[in-house]
Symmetry: C2
Subunit: 473 residues, 2 copies
């Protein structure tokens, strides 16, 4: 007979205590396989509990397979395997803190990926959010392509501001660029070779490689995607940033665009992925139209996100697929739920529809232009002529600073670190760094205030890029 | 000289009209390559506009590459390629309406994937949402693994209610099960063979296939994953639903669990993916502990979501990785941003932390148990003995109905369609339908009210599963 001392303070029901006790006895081997348990009636009377309590414990043991109920014969302990001789391996302890960097007292971080969040219209977002929190539709599963209303709003915006040829039916909403690229990895059949700009967006490269694709890194020619070189490769897909090459900041000229579109039009399997990452922000003249707007052959996959225009924290992007790929997406991938919450989609829809998005963009364009102009002004004023050059200006959220002086990249990095300045070297964006590479930096200005830009650039000029003083001896 | 008739009603600035005119002239070939444009001074005087207006137009043309500025010589038309002979192909028109089904007047949909959204505590969710809309942190990029606070809350919940061994450092937050499986596809090196339950979750199969994996469909043995058969295969990964097999509804017994864990422990490359999809809802006895809670060898990848417990529309799930895989994830995949919005994560964190999640689960468990009991009651009362069997009961949001009568599956479907009843056949979940398969249905009850269950089951008994009447002749 089984004797259990119940613990009235454990907070556990009696049936659970019986179940736990017998389970432990079985796992320890003290109750052997095929052993018959006492009948629930006799155990109940022995333990002075109700029979239904014992029945509940037995029933749980049966559910989990510790015990088997044999009709008219009673309860028997099931054979367990490998309980005692289970090899408890001790894998190397993973170092969970490997990514936590030493906190560095940063005086200035020219982060090219940052955005200005101080001027976001939080009160408007909040009032839309409150309204949408009242809408129970946001708890129902939505369209796998994204809510139609949102796709409609995106379509109107893209058509009006970027000249993109699209309709709600050709748009897929996703959780940012990376997610959309992952879906493309699944969408392409037979894993074509993918050509990438070098330098370019390192994560796109990683995503295609992880997806099992072969990638070709094509060096920029005069800061621009080299279509002649592309034509000599086996690539069927290319991933480009024509409006503002990431990271060099150049615009793909119209002749190169036409050549690229012509390349794509010559073979059914060819497609161009246009990543239009920060086209909202151009500070001189009209916006450069999207490559997709010039495409008569339905060969351009256009991708954009709200990461720079609103915030990367909302994780929302979209792609416009050519009709044949859209058909394939619907056929093969519409089982994948749209990864953006209904609530998030609904808020963004209203934000665009009610004109706040466009208003916010116009406002941010002015604010960013001010920061951009200040940065260039201070660089021009403080850095000696001939040793420096600026490119990639008049657009985006960073400029490119070229350095032709005597200091090496290592020396510059050491000086920057010492002065609490964080610099991003163009080198980090190369798959293959060219032999004639000279120190070049991406200087982001988006989340710096004008006085921080002034101080940061002054420090850069005086403490980092200043020529080493000749020894007086 | 270029003559342009300006349109004062177009709403376009003069410089844009000059730019558009010259661009059209270049694209049409009327302005030939290398042709020199008039100097900005002379064109300005000719058009009676200011010189800066012409400069702005020229500058835009230069930005986009239509025109080249040669120092001290002026502006020249750039050579364009392939403008005239561009092949404007007409790809087949994609049929955008292919998925819009004929609206059918459904009288009852026993959808096994649906949840009850009528009893969600909207007012609490809303008040947390309002509070979080005030938090500007939700517009800053978060941790790529998911917010630490949320991972902490999930860790406490999983530990307490599922016995899962975890910590915030071993949890990755993602946009639902599909997204997390896609990330696992990237995480495993050298694409191991993956064993799946058959019948099982069809999308998991599709995701692994899309990820370039070879999958092995292992038929259930006595409604349970067949570990003996797994041992004879080359599979290194298996994807299982031990707590409530999807879709058969069985519980993997403890001996099979131990065998499976032992299988995994014998080789470094082996892992078990445990999809704990609806373990929150068990209506009899204690919850079945997660397989991961028995794992001493750190071989189980545990995945769960909030899709059934809260709503699939919030797109939120999590996985617990064994330390070595977590280390690999941090090293290789932490460049991927968490696809769930910061706002969504913050709301869920508070919802769990403040006790509402557990309260909601307890309430829903009661409500679902009521619906579950009613469904079984009506089936037992209305369906003749011997011709029917129920399995997979006492857990989840659907039961399994086995039919042993004379009607074929096609006849049953025809009858159901005619009466506006939507049934999900178990057949749809098989990779390979077994030869001895008999008509079997998943009957979901979650989003039906009790009277709908009564009517639906009555209709099923009388109009669909009733034996064909013998001809009286």
């Amino acid at each position: 007979m089984i004797t259990i001392s119940f613990n009235p303070d454990s907070g556990q029901p009696i049936y659970v205590q019986i179940y736990e006790y017998i389970k432990a006895e079985i796992l320890s081997g003290r109750l052997a396989r095929q052993e018959k348990l006492p009948s629930s009636r006799s155990l109940a009377s022995h333990l002075q509990v109700s029979r239904s309590t014992v029945d509940a414990a037995y029933s749980q043991l049966v559910s989990e397979g510790y015990v088997e109920a044999k009709e008219k014969r009673g309860y028997f302990v099931n054979p367990l395997t490998h309980t005692q001789n289970f090899p408890v391996s001790q894998p190397e302890k993973a170092n969970h803190h490997s990514r936590e960097k030493q906190a560095l007292p940063l005086s200035c971080d020219f982060n090219p990926d940052a955005i200005d969040t101080a001027h976001f219209p939080y009160s408007i977002w909040k009032s839309i959010g409150k309204r949408q929190l009242d809408n129970p539709d946001n708890f129902q599963m939505g369209d796998p392509l994204g809510d139609r209303e949102l796709r409609h709003a995106i379509s109107d915006y893209l058509h009006g501001s970027r000249g993109v040829n699209c309709s709600p039916e050709t748009i897929v909403v996703g959780a940012g660029l990376d997610y959309l690229l992952q879906m493309l990895c699944i969408l392409f059949e037979r894993k074509p070779v993918i050509a990438l700009e070098d330098p370019g967006y390192p994560r796109a490269r990683q995503i295609f490689l992880s997806g099992g694709y072969r990638v070709l890194d094509i060096p920029l020619k005069k800061n621009c995607f080299d279509v002649e070189r592309l034509e000599k490769t086996a690539a069927d897909i290319c991933y480009v940033t024509p409006t503002h090459q990431f990271p060099s900041g150049s615009v793909m000229p119209i002749s190169r665009r036409q050549k690229l579109l012509f390349w794509a039009s010559r073979k059914d399997s060819r497609y161009i992925i246009e990543d239009d990452h920060d086209s909202e922000f151009r500070y001189k003249g009209k916006p450069i139209p999207a490559l997709q707007s010039l495409d008569n052959s339905q060969k351009v996959i256009y991708i954009g996100t709200f990461s720079r225009a609103v915030s990367p924290a909302i994780r929302m992007g979209y792609m416009v697929l050519p009709p044949l790929l859209m058909e394939r997406y619907r056929r093969r991938l519409s089982g994948y739920a749209c990864p953006v919450s209904r609530m998030g989609q609904a808020i963004m829809t209203d934000f665009i529809r009610e004109g706040y998005f466009e208003k916010h963009l116009n406002r941010m364009r002015k604010i960013y232009k001010g920061k951009h102009d200040r940065m260039i002004e201070y660089i021009t004023g403080l850095f000696p002529d001939g040793l420096f050059d600026i490119t990639g200006d008049n657009a985006g959220l960073y400029i490119i600073l070229h350095y032709y002086g005597a200091l090496t990249e290592e020396e510059l990095k050491k000086r920057a670190d010492k002065n609490g300045i964080r610099l991003r070297s163009l080198r980090e964006y190369y798959a293959n760094v060219p032999a004639d590479y000279l120190p070049t930096y991406l200087l982001g200005f988006a989340n710096l205030e004008e006085n921080q830009i002034k101080e940061g650039i002054t420090d850069l000029a005086q403490k980092v890029f200043s020529e080493p003083k000749p020894h007086l001896s």
